[in-house]
Amino acid sequence: MIEWFHPSLFFIFGAFLIPFLKDKVLKTYLIVITVLALIDVLLMSEGIYWKYSFIGNEIIFGNVDKLSLAFAYVFTIMACIGVIYALHVNDRGQHIAAFLYVGSSLGVIFAGDYFTLFVFWEIMAFASAYLVFAKRERVAIEAGFRYLLFHIFGGVCLLGGIILHYIGTGSLLFGLIEKDGSLAFYLILIGFIVNAAVPPLHAWLTDAYPEGTITGSVFMSAYTTKTAVYVLVRAFPGTEALVWLGTIMTLYGVMYATLQSDFRRLLAYHIVSQVGYMVTGVGLGTELALNGSVSHAFTHILYKGLLFMGAGSVIYMTGNRRLDQLGGIYKTMPITMILYMIAGFSISAFPLFSGFVSKSMIVAAASHDHRAIVALLLIMASSGTFLSTTLKLPYFMFFGKDSGIRTQEPPLNMLIGMGIAAFLCIAIGIFPGPLYAVLPHPVHFEPYTGDHVTGSLGILMFTALGFFMLIKRLEPHPTISIDTDWFYRKGSNIFMWVANNPIAAYEGYIGEIYNVWFTYLTLKFSDFLWRVFDSRIIDGAVNGVARIYLIITSFVWRIFDVRIIDGLVNDIADFWMDFGGVARFSQTGMVRNYAFFMLLGGGILISYYLFR
């Protein structure tokens, strides 16, 4: 009897057979493999398995405890959903990449040492990059390149940290890291938060996810950031910096999301925002907060997958991904609309939906830890989420002005995939017990208290009110432009508002606060930020770095190698050639250049020693 079987093996070795199968056999095969992996994970018991000695160090493939199991459950469940959703795809490369991606992320979850972790970490980056590349459009390929370069940067930081950590401690075992502020500590932290998409290291996510294939983005939304959350929970609980980074993330993501008209980019910004909650939870580091992070990761994978599936279905059926060009398609895609709305209510933590039972945990943890500001900011972000994901996006996509697009429901497999996810979102929301049972720490938390429910409903309702009052202003535009007049026009508006309503704001005139904060100010401010900072600076920096390298290299190559050296040497050579009258030799002038270069190098070396 095998004591433990690594679930990654199903996926990684399973992937090798995919090229040889097709049609129905392939579909059955994909489902069988994922279900087998799910069963494998469900039957697992805690312990340490598959420990090997590898070049003098202990490596552990199976570090199974409550924390890794919680993630493994949701990863395999999501794999089933994602595979069902992607059954109609004929490009086998995508199935292979998805399998490798899921398998390697499970490998990270169960890795007991840094070495195994790193290996799976890198495979993840490459496999997921393929899901972007696979769209085979120029924009997608460029985004994929940026995505990979970003992850390789993160991977390199991680590897550097691991090596330093190993040299410092002599151990490769992966666990809680001592917060000694050493270089190793920071390098590993940077490696992890690149994958968690913490600003300003988040641009890969919002850049690449909207460009991925329809089914690929569903997978990507689930695994990369959540594996990062897992490793943070394991290694960095209670790191103060993460509290603030996470809080900033939640707001940052929401602000930018409000401005997007590509709805997958909008959803991608919400990943940043939602992962922010989890990162905050890790930073708080209390049992309640860590439970909150893990449970939020659990529910987030399901509802975010569902959101991407819903959005993907609309793209698949209409071929359009711009919010400003859709509208009125609820008539022809009612089921998709309903399923999408379930996810929308979940992400905005509506009572009885899954987000509520997990998100409130992190907020509660923040208030228990006497961090009122953090808690307040998190609640603010939550209402922003409700505004853009649950109100704005579906309003303009499914309802709103009729765009005249007439289509139909997506293929059955897509609907089934979405249905399972939707079912789980509601089930967890109503019966949080089973979810709480798998969390790493014992749970003494009751989400459905009168306080929680009324509090969050109040906020959400006011947000809704604000939305419908300002619906005109929120209408998405194909391009959001900003002029220099922004400063004085908006500046004077703000000034006028402050002058007119200072007391009103102070007294908690909530409608007006939300009105201003979440629709007006946020909108304009984030408009500005997104335009200037996100799209230009960060994307620009990544593009720019690559471009600078290319420019420098072609410069070095052309100017330096060809012009200057050749020119210089040619001149000297010409001089000697004329002088010596050995014109025949000029045919291989290049060799002379090379020889000259060698001589020069040798001269420098010798003079270094003689005159130092």
């Binding site: 790193f118 085979r136 390149f145 990979l148 190559w557 060698m598 040798g602 010798i606 020693y609």
Partner: protein, 491 residues
């Protein structure tokens, strides 16, 4: 006057004798073989290589139980130790793979003469002598035997102008570099009174080691070896020669002779000049940084895959130099391990360049690789594996190799240099990935219609060996690392 009769220990040069016999045999047999039978000569050479490898493996017992080693013979001109055995194995693997990928190529280009295999085998002997020489003169002889054979091989496709040009360039510059080397040797001899490596190290440790003559001799040797391993600024021949040479020879040159050059380089600097370590470490630090950076950065803008791989091989020499300066046991073991991994992945990549290149090597540009992933999924998958391994992505041999190299250097405290090396690996990803993306993600351009590729059995075998090598060395590195660790130079 007493005549010194050297101790002749033929057993210690059995592998070299065997390869010599086969080299001459191939040359003679070609007179009696008809044109279609020429490829048999390749298989005969392979037999010699396999036999020699077996002898190398068994000479003096298995790796690990090296109580019988090192064996010095021929008046201390020659040594058999684990270090030389490991390098000889790498060289023989490289040569064997080269012969396999050459057979079809020679037929296509109409140059399948016995001389080709014979020259390759002579090169191999030269390289093995470089690995096993324990005297500057022996090492020099090995270098010359290797280089002269290579000059001819580089120009072997006589009718291609590019090939002729590269041969001449290589010859001229190679001779120039040899002068440096020989001058260095003579200065060392002048300073120490001996050419024996142990003798030199013994002399330096008891006497004045700071003498300028000695230092200049060392620098000149550094230049000579720097040329052979293609380190910046002595690298400029590499791209031109690699581009012009017949593709199998390019593959060969980028693997085996580089390994042999590193063998001699390491042995001379670590066995003969350890007391000057403080002096040469700085220079090698700078050379390593320049070599990696120049190699990778210039590779970025290349469009010709052969030339790109040439620059990439320069960059890899830079990575190896990173571990060179750590000079301790793990540093040397990591170089050995990396050379083994590099041989498989680089020859593998070149094998695919040969397949795609077709007759006359016309399709060597990145655009010729577009859409390959759809028409030839296995070939493209193999190429992807080799390129990822060259980048250093787990779970390939290249990753383990790089990890080992860099951690050796970090242990010795060269964090700055390793940072440069790691950044370089990131840059290299870009150009390796360019090929992968072309293969899988771009629709073939209209004017690039792939003729159907032809796979000869020998080529397929070579590819299978290379793929297995990359995966085995990468996924189960322990036995190879153990072997490499046993192969530390014994003083």
């Amino acid at each position: 006057m007493e005549i010194l009769i050297p101790t002749i220990n033929l057993e210690s040069i059995y592998p070299e004798i065997l390869i010599t016999v086969f080299a001459i045999l191939v040359l003679l047999l070609q007179v009696f073989t008809s044109l279609p039978g020429r490829k048999q000569l390749g298989y005969i050479s392979l037999t010699g290589i396999v036999l020699a490898s077996i002898i190398v493996l068994t000479q003096g017992g298995a790796f690990g139980e090296n109580t019988a080693l090192p064996i010095y013979s021929f008046s201390n001109l020659w040594v058999v130790d684990n270090f030389s055995r490991f390098f000889k194995l790498i060289i023989l693997i490289g040569t064997g793979l080269t012969v396999l990928i050459s057979i079809k190529y020679l037929k296509d280009e109409g140059i399948d003469h016995g001389e080709y295999y014979s020259l390759i085998l002579f090169t191999t002997i030269g390289m093995m002598i470089m690995a096993g020489g324990s005297d500057l003169i022996t090492i020099f002889l090995g270098i010359e035997l290797m280089s002269i054979s290579l000059y001819v091989l580089t120009g072997y496709t006589r009718k291609r102008l590019l090939s002729n040009e590269s041969s001449l360039k290589y010859f001229l510059l190679g001779s120039f570099a040899t002068c440096f080397l020989l001058y260095g040797i003579s200065l060392l001899y002048g300073a120490t009174g001996t050419t024996n490596l142990k003798g030199i190290s013994g002399f330096i440790s008891d006497a004045n080691f700071g003498s300028p003559v000695l230092i200049i001799g060392m620098v000149l040797l550094l230049i000579g070896f720097g040329f052979k391993v293609a380190s910046v600024p002595f690298h400029m021949w590499t791209p031109d020669v690699y581009e012009g040479a017949p593709a199998p020879i390019t593959a060969f040159m980028s693997a085996s002779p580089k390994a042999a050059a590193f063998a001699a380089f390491l042995r001379v600097f670590i066995e003969a000049l350890p007391s000057l370590q403080g002096v040469w470490v700085d220079i090698i630090w700078v050379l390593a940084a320049m070599t990696m950076t120049a190699g990778n950065v210039i590779a970025l803008v290349q469009d010709n895959v052969k030339r790109m791989l040439a620059y990439s091989s320069i960059a890899h020499a830079g990575y190896i130099l990173v571990a060179f300066i750590s000079t301790d046991k793990s540093g040397i073991a990591s170089i050995l391990y990396y050379m083994l991994a590099y041989t498989f992945m680089n020859i593998g990549a070149f094998a695919i360049v040969i397949i795609i290149g077709g007759k006359g090597e016309e399709k060597v540009h990145v655009k010729d690789y577009t859409g390959l992933g759809y028409r030839y999924p296995l070939t493209a998958a193999a190429m992807t594996l080799f390129l990822l391994s060259l980048t250093g992505i787990p779970p390939t041999a290249g990753f383990m190799g790089k990890l080992y190299l860099f951690s050796a250097a970090i242990k010795s405290g060269y964090v700055g240099l390793v940072t440069i090396a790691v950044l370089n690996s990131v840059i290299s990803l870009y150009y390796y990935l360019k090929i992968i993306v072309a293969m899988y993600l771009k629709e073939p351009e209209l004017d690039v219609a792939h003729d159907s590729l032809v796979f000869s059995p020998a080529m397929v075998i070579a590819l299978i060996i290379a793929v297995c090598g990359v995966l085995l060395v990468g996924i189960f590195p322990s036995p190879y690392i153990a072997m490499a660790q046993q192969s530390y130079i014994s003083f």
